[in-house]
């Protein structure tokens, strides 16, 4: 692979790497909070993918301006979609943290190994 091909897809490489970092944290970490952090990175990586594909070089916001003739603008739809996905991500994260708080109340620990031993 040439350097150009790598740099040309720079955002997508970052997307893939972030995705794997998040995924690794979810699987490998024993602390429930760390798992949720990993999950959050995992979701955020996808946001980056959506935003990258809508970006047009030199593009502006898709707003009609007086005097501007055929302005180049970025595709607003993926950005709107990701706004929704961010809300979903926040809701998931807060619910996950709430459950961790409850687990800590009932078990007195948030380490996966200790929790599995407790029952």
């Amino acid at each position: 692979m040439t350097l150009d091909a790598f740099l040309g897809h720079f955002n997508y490489w970052v997307f893939a790497i972030l995705l794997m970092i998040g995924f690794y944290a979810v699987i490998a970490k024993g602390n429930l909070i760390k798992k949720l952090v990993g999950l959050s990175i995992f979701q955020s990586a996808v946001f980056l993918m959506y935003i990258s594909m809508s970006k047009v070089e030199g593009g502006t916001a898709p707003i009609l301006q007086a005097g501007a003739v055929d302005p180049i603008y970025s595709n607003p739809l993926p950005q709107v979609l990701i706004l929704t996905a961010i809300v979903v991500g926040v809701a998931t994260l807060s619910l996950g943290l709430a459950i961790v708080v409850r687990i800590n109340e009932r078990y007195g620990s948030i380490e996966e190994r200790e929790l599995l031993d407790a029952d």
Binding site: L32, K35, Q43, V46, V88, T92, V100, I103, D119
Partner: protein, 503 residues
């Protein structure tokens, strides 16, 4: 405008709107009444639309008057109609049949919030089914999942919390995989409307992005559907959830994910994805078969009755996927018929477990000795549901197993092997159902301490409403086993739509 043309949106809007309202209702007893009313109303809407769909119509609805593919479209065809009947029917049966069970398991001051989550789960599942927009499916999937996590975490045991945490992690990964897949398809086609995707994808079919998108979507939804190796979240979640939630989710939760999986893989990708056939024959079919055998085998040795039936659910998802992975119309018909019939059988079984749960704190099978003496109706319902799950002639379960075996027979030698596996798994079902029935009917009751106070009470039948609904569901297993016309004609029409998308 007449109300009929607005039915598709009302199906989603009514539970969604009432969800915050039930929290505000005073006195709190009204929350159950309002939830039940909304569930029944949703069920009535689903029946109404099923009648229209059976009459040959496809209901289309443009949200806000924006024409697809620019706006979000809702569409009710035979597939969605069948799923809507399952989802709303299960919600109604569960909320009606588990009233006392809910009072027992959920503290009264938390009940309004519980019912709000219940209606959100209903709205989410129904939304996934009615919409024809890929991103809308994701949003509704997350609504239903988040509501589902809350409901399961309401379970009385602290292990419910661990189960729900695992479910939350795996469910979110599944949904995110789906989101990646949809993003890749959007990248190639610039549209989110499912029909528009199917129209535009053949033009870019040579791009490697397409099979990757299909892979992400398939794996993500297989996770949500608890397909065999991805099922590990399901047994604990079903076991530790409140009984009412288990009834609701076991009847329809995984099936909606299977529905989205089939709709994507057949309608959207079939014409464009060169690997469509391989994806089913090399990926879904082997795992479906493995799931059928392994999950049934685990169920045979499982000591807790809810866990046993949860593993049986994993095996049933295997049957549904096996039928679809034959890629024939008969196979798909069997798949859809099995969705309906399994929902009937499982909701009957879990309803009777909710009844048993009213009198037995400990639901390990060997603790239930002789329950049939004190709870004859509950035990009878369990027996009928169990027979339907096994697929005994005269029950609903027989119809779909027969269709599945017929579809497998068409496949020649390979098919015979699969018939063998299905029969083997049915025998295992006989073993695990019979094990329970034997304990319920033929063991002498063990005196056990069933109350929290420590004083002994005489075991008696569960409250009348619960037993009534449970028996009604059991009766429906027999009714649809003798007269399977309505679900079958919907299943056949659904299979036609999916296999018709191939041309």
């Amino acid at each position: 405008m007449d109300i009929e043309s607005h039915l598709p949106i009302l199906q989603v809007i009514i539970p969604l709107l009432f969800s915050p309202l039930v929290v505000l209702l005073q006195p709190r007893g009204l929350a159950w009444v309002a939830t039940t009313a909304v569930c029944i109303l949703s069920f009535a809407i689903a029946i109404n639309m099923a009648i229209l769909v059976l009459g040959g119509q496809t209901l289309e609805y443009e949200l806000g008057g924006w024409q697809p593919p620019f706006g979000i479209a809702l569409r009710i065809d035979a597939i969605s109609s069948l799923l809507l009947l399952i989802v709303t029917g299960a919600a109604t049966a569960a909320v009606l049949g588990c009233r006392e069970s809910l009072n027992q398991q959920i503290e009264s001051h938390r009940q309004p919030l519980f019912f709000a989550a219940w209606l959100l789960l209903l709205a989410g599942l129904v939304g996934m089914v009615v919409t024809a927009d890929a991103f809308n499916i994701f949003v509704f999937m997350e609504i239903s999942s988040l509501a589902g996590y809350i409901l399961i975490a309401g379970g009385p045991d602290r292990r419910a919390l661990l189960a729900v945490f695992k479910y939350l992690i795996m469910g979110t990964i599944g949904a995110t995989f789906y989101l990646i897949g949809v993003g890749l398809v959007y990248m190639m086609t610039g549209t989110l409307n499912l029909d528009d995707m199917a129209r535009l994808l053949p033009g870019v079919a040579d791009q490697t992005t397409i099979p990757f998108a299909a892979a992400f979507i398939t794996v993500g939804l297989a996770l949500k559907a608890a397909m065999f190796p991805l099922h590990v979240w399901l047994p604990n979640a079903y076991t530790h959830a409140p009984h009412a939630v288990t009834v609701f989710m076991a009847a329809c939760g995984t099936k909606v994910a299977v529905y989205v999986l089939l709709r994507f893989d057949f309608v959207v990708f079939q014409s464009a994805d060169l690997y469509h056939g391989l994806q089913f024959s090399l990926f879904l079919m082997p795992f479906a078969l493995l799931g059928i055998v392994v999950a049934s085998a685990v169920a045979m040795f499982e000591g807790q009755i809810k866990r046993m039936l949860a593993f049986s659910s994993v095996a049933q998802v295997g049957y549904i996927l096996l039928g679809a992975s034959l890629l024939t119309q008969d196979g798909l018909t069997a798949s859809f018929a099995h969705m309906f019939n399994h929902a009937l059988a499982k909701s009957t079984l879990f309803l009777s477990i909710a009844c048993l749960g009213m009198r037995f704190m400990d639901l390990r099978i060997d603790q239930l000795s002789g329950a049939a003496k004190s709870m004859p109706f509950t035990a009878a319902a369990f027996l009928i549901g169990g027979l339907s799950l096994i697929g005994v002639p005269g029950t609903a379960g027989f119809i779909s197993k027969w269709l599945l075996i017929e579809a497998l027979m068409e496949q020649g030698e390979q098919g015979l092997l699969m018939v063998g596996i299905v029969l083997l798994s049915s025998l295992m079902a006989v073993v695990y159902i019979w094990r329970t029935v034997e304990v319920l009917y033929f063991r002498t009751p063990v005196q056990q301490d069933t109350t929290q106070q420590g004083s002994e009470v005489v075991l008696s039948e569960a409250p009348a409403l619960m037993v009534g609904v449970t028996l009604l569901m059991a009766a429906l297993n027999i009714v649809f086993g003798v007269m399977p016309d309505v679900p079958l004609s919907l299943a056949e029409a659904a299979a036609e739509i999916l296999s018709g998308a191939r041309q």
